[in-house]
Amino acid sequence: MNAPLTHLQKLEAESIHIFREVAAECEKPVFLYSIGKDSAVLLHLAMKAFYPSKPPFPLLHVDTTWKFREMIEFRDKRVKELGLELLVHINEEGVKAGVNPFDSGSRLHTDVMKTQGLKQALDKYKFDAAFGGARRDEEKSRAKERVFSLRSPEHRWDPKNQRPEPWRLYNTRKRPGESFRVFPLSNWTESDIWDYIAKEDIPVVPLYFAKKRPVVRRDGALIMRDDERMKLRPGEQVEELSVRFRTLGCYPLTGAVESTASTLPEIIAEMRASKTSEREGRIIDHDGSASMEQKKQEGYF
C-alpha cells in the first residue's frame, strides 16, 4: 500500500519527536546554534517539528570571537530569514583576560571561551534544556551518550550513571538547577547529514565547499588565515589553495582539507571516499584519547 519509510524519513521523524517532547516537558529550552552543518540540519528539523508555529525557544550562539567571519555572516542571515530570536553570548572575562587560541593553547581557549561561556549563558538565562547537534557517530564517548543527557547544577555529565532510556521514552524529570542536553541527531551519521542536506536543500556555510582560500601550513594542519590576528611564524607563508572544511569551529583550531569539491554531490562523493574521520581536522580532540569525555564532564557540549 504505502511505501515503507526510508532511513532518512525515519531519522527525521525521530528527531522531530524529540524536539516536541522537550517543548512539551521542559520549561525553558534553548537551541545551541553552532552554525555548522549539524546545526543547519538541526535547525531545519526544529522548523519542521513545530510548523506552522515557530520553534518555541530562542537560538543561542556562544561566540568565542574566533569563528570564521563567513560563519557569523551566515548565522545572521539565516536567523533573519527564519525570523527567529538569536542570543549571542561571549565570555567577556575570557576576552578581558586575553584568552586566545594562539597564546593560551587550544585547550584553555576552548575551556574558557566555549565551555565556561556556555555555562555562563545557560545560568544567566536559566535554560533547563539545551538542544545540541552532536551525533553518536562522531566520537566514541559520544557513542555512549543518551538522547536526553542529564547535567548537574554545575553542568557536569556523569557518564557512569546515566538514566536508562528505553524505546522513545524520555525521563525529563530533574531537580532545580539540573538541566538537560538534548541530542535529536544522536542516530544520524555524517553521511546521513549530507544526504539530508542534499535532499532538503538546506543552506550551509560556504566554507564547506572548496574555494581558493589563504591558508598557512602549521603543525601538520592547513589553517586558514581568516584575519590579521593570526601572526605568521618565521618561515610561514600564506598560500592560496583550493580547500574546504569538514567541520567548522574556531578558525585557528580547524584544519582545512585540500579539495576541489565545490558542489554537494562532489562533497558527498569525497566524504564517502575519505579514509579519515571528520574530527581529524579538529585540533582540540587530539589532546588524549578520553579527552572528549573529560571535556564533556566538565560541561563542554
Partner: protein, 531 residues
C-alpha cells in the same frame, strides 16, 4: 569511508540506492561478562571498512596502552569509549555504532555483560530487531546468558544469532560447539524465539565474521555479516495495524489554527477519516495532515505530523487519536512485566510516576504477582523488587489510559516508572495481556490479536459465558437491546455510537472486577514469549 559505494551512487544521493534507501536493521550484542561482545562489534566495524585511518592509528596506540591482547589490536577499544571502561577493560554503558554495507544500514548497540549494568543492556535491547547472544566457548551458558536471553525475549526480540565465541581457544571443536548449541536450544525453548541461528566464531581472529573460516570446515551456515545483511527480523508491519496517534504537543500558532503534533504509532490516516480522542471518547474527523512541506494525503506509522480536526474537541498532550473501528481499551489498571532498574528496592504500594507514550500519571504497584527466577525462568512468589529483577505485577494508574499490549506495539505498550523524589527511572514496564477480561473474552487464540477491545465479541461473550454466573440478567438484556446480536466488530461498532461507549466501558470495568474475583488461581506464563 565506505569503500563499497560507487561514485555514481555517491553523485546522486537522492535516487541511487545510497544510505537512505537501504533497509535499516537494529541489533544488539549481549551475553555474559567478557564473552567478547565489544570485540565482535569492533571486528565487524573493522571488517566492513568503517574505521577511518586516524581512528585506526588511535586504536593502535590505545591497544598498546590499555589493550588486553598484549599490544595487538584490541577491537573492544573501538567501542568501549568511556575512560572507566578502557581502564577496567569492561563495558559499562551501551554504545551505539552505525555502519553500512552494500545491502543494509545497521545500528548496533553494544551492551554491557556485567549484571550491575543490566538496565543499560535493556536500554539497548528495547529498540532492537535482532540480538546476537554471545557465549564463551570455554565457559558455556552462564547465569548472565540466561538473564540476557530472557530480557531479549521479554523486550520482544524474536530472532537471535547464537555466536559461540572464542572458538580459537577450544581448537575450533565441532563437538564443543554442538554441545553448547544443544544446551542453549533446550534452555531457550520457552522463550518464544522465532529463530535461533548458531555460528562458531572468533571475534578476535575474525573467523566466520565477514567470510567463512577454513578452521571450521564442518560449519554449514553463513558467516555473520552476510547473514545480517539478509536476515528477516523485526516487528511486523505497524502500518497495517489500527490507527493510533499519541498527541505530544498542541500546535497553536494563532487563533485560527489548532493542530495536534505527534507521531503515528501504528496504522495510517487520511483527511476525512473518522477518529476518536481517547480517553475522552470524543469523536471527530481528520481535516488536514499538516507539515512544513505541505499537506499530506496520508500519513503512516513512524511519521511525525500535525493533524487538524473538523471539530473543536478537547484534546491535549498524552491523548491518543484512534481509529473509530478499532479502539484500544481504556483502563486504569494494567498487568505488566517490570524490569527493576533502580538501586533501591521497590516499595509495595508506593506511588511512582508512569510515562507511557506522551502520557504521564501517578501509578502504584497494586500487587507483585510473581518474580521470575532467572535460573529456571519460573515464577516465584512475589516480594518487593530489587535491582535487575523481573516481575509480573498489577499496576493502578490514577487516571485512565488507552491501553495497548506491548507485544502489539512497543511504543504504545512500553512504559517507564519514575521515582518522584530521586527522579530516577526505576522500572521498564511492558503491558501484558490482562489475566481477566480482555484476554479470555475478547481475543482469539490465533495469535492475530488486536489491541483494541472487540466490543461485539465482548458483549456476546459476556452474555454467553459470564452473566449467568454473575447473575446479570438485566445487563444482558440491555446489551442485546443496544447491540442486537452482533456478529462482527464492525456491526457492533456501527451500533455502538460514541455516546454509549462510556456506558459499555463502565460495565466492562465491573465485569473485569467480578471476573478477577472469580479467578482465584493466578496462573503465570513462565516465559518471555507472552509479551
Amino acid at each position: 569511508m565506505n569503500a563499497h559505494v560507487t561514485e555514481a551512487e555517491a553523485l546522486a544521493p537522492e535516487t541511487a540506492p545510497a544510505a537512505q534507501e537501504k533497509v535499516l536493521l537494529r541489533f544488539i550484542t549481549c551475553g555474559s561478562v567478557d564473552d567478547g561482545k565489544s570485540t565482535l562489534i569492533g571486528r565487524m566495524l573493522y571488517d566492513s571498512q568503517m574505521i577511518a585511518e586516524d581512528q585506526l592509528a588511535a586504536l593502535d596506540r590505545d591497544s598498546k596502552k590499555f589493550g588486553t591482547q598484549g599490544g595487538a589490536l584490541d577491537f573492544a577499544l573501538l567501542v568501549d569509549g568511556l575512560a572507566a571502561e578502557r581502564e577496567q577493560g569492561i563495558t559499562i554503558d551501551v554504545a551505539y555504532r552505525y555502519f553500512k554495507t552494500d545491502k543494509r544500514a545497521f545500528i548496533v548497540a553494544d551492551t554491557p555483560g556485567h549484571e550491575q549494568y543490566t538496565r543499560n543492556m535493556a536500554t539497548g535491547a528495547s529498540t532492537a530487531d535482532l540480538a546476537i547472544i554471545l557465549i564463551d566457548a570455554r565457559k558455556g551458558i552462564l547465569p548472565q546468558t540466561r538473564r540476557h536471553s530472557f530480557i531479549v525475549s521479554m523486550i520482544g526480540v524474536r530472532d537471535v544469532a547464537l555466536a559461540i565465541n572464542k572458538m580459537d581457544l577450544v581448537d575450533y571443536s565441532e563437538d564443543r560447539f554442538n554441545e553448547i548449541v544443544a544446551a542453549y536450544r533446550d534452555m531457550a525453548k520457552n522463550l518464544g524465539f522465532r529463530s535461533i541461528t548458531p555460528l562458531p566464531i572468533s571475534a578476535l581472529n575474525g573467523d566466520n565474521i565477514a567470510s567463512l573460516s577454513e578452521r571450521t570446515p564442518w560449519f554449514q551456515g553463513e558467516p555473520l555479516l552476510p547473514w545480517l545483511e539478509s536476515v528477516e527480523a523485526g516487528a511486523g508491519d505497524l502500518a497495517e495495524a489500527p490507527f493510533r496517534f499519541p498527541v505530544q504537543w498542541v500546535n497553536r500558532p494563532n487563533l485560527d489554527f489548532r493542530g495536534f503534533s505527534g507521531w503515528v504509532a501504528s496504522g495510517s490516516v487520511k483527511p476525512g477519516d473518522a477518529i476518536v480522542a481517547l480517553p475522552s471518547g470524543r469523536a471527530s474527523t481528520v481535516a488536514r495532515i499538516v507539515t512544513q512541506d505541505g499537506d499530506l494525503p496520508v500519513a503512516v506509522a513512524g511519521q511525525s505530523v500535525t493533524l487538524t480536526l473538523a471539530d473543536e474537541i478537547d484534546v491535549s498532550r498524552g491523548d491518543i487519536l484512534s481509529s473509530v473501528e478499532k479502539q484500544p481499551e481504556v483502563a486504569s489498571t494494567v498487568e505488566a512485566r517490570l524490569l527493576w532498574t533502580a538501586e533501591t528496592d521497590m516499595h509495595p504500594g508506593a506511588s511512582y510516576i508512569v510515562k507511557l507514550g506522551a502520557r504521564t500519571a501517578n501509578a502504584s504497584i497494586d500487587k507483585v504477582r510473581a518474580l521470575i527466577d532467572i535460573h529456571t525462568f519460573e515464577p516465584a512468589p512475589g516480594k518487593p523488587l530489587a535491582l535487575n529483577e523481573i516481575a509480573e505485577a498489577k499496576l493502578r494508574f490514577d487516571r485512565p489510559f488507552p491501553i495497548s499490549l506491548y507485544r502489539d506495539n512497543r511504543d504504545l505498550g512500553g512504559f517507564i516508572l519514575i521515582d518522584r523524589i530521586t527522579n530516577e527511572t526505576v522500572a521498564f514496564g511492558m503491558i501484558a495481556p490482562g489475566r481477566a477480561a480482555p484476554e479470555t473474552l475478547a481475543r482469539d487464540e490465533s495469535g492475530a490479536q488486536e489491541s483494541g477491545v472487540d466490543w461485539g465479541r465482548l458483549v456476546q461473550n459476556l452474555g454467553e459465558k459470564l452473566l449467568p454466573a454473575l447473575g446479570g440478567g438485566v445487563l444482558i438484556g440491555l446489551g442485546a437491546k443496544l447491540f442486537g446480536a452482533p456478529t462482527s466488530t464492525a456491526v457492533a461498532l456501527g451500533l455502538a455510537d460514541a455516546a454509549f461507549r462510556p456506558l459499555v466501558r463502565g460495565w466492562y470495568g465491573d465485569f473485569r472486577a467480578a471476573l478477577a474475583k472469580r479467578k482465584s488461581d493466578d496462573e503465570i506464563t513462565p516465559d518471555g514469549a507472552g509479551i
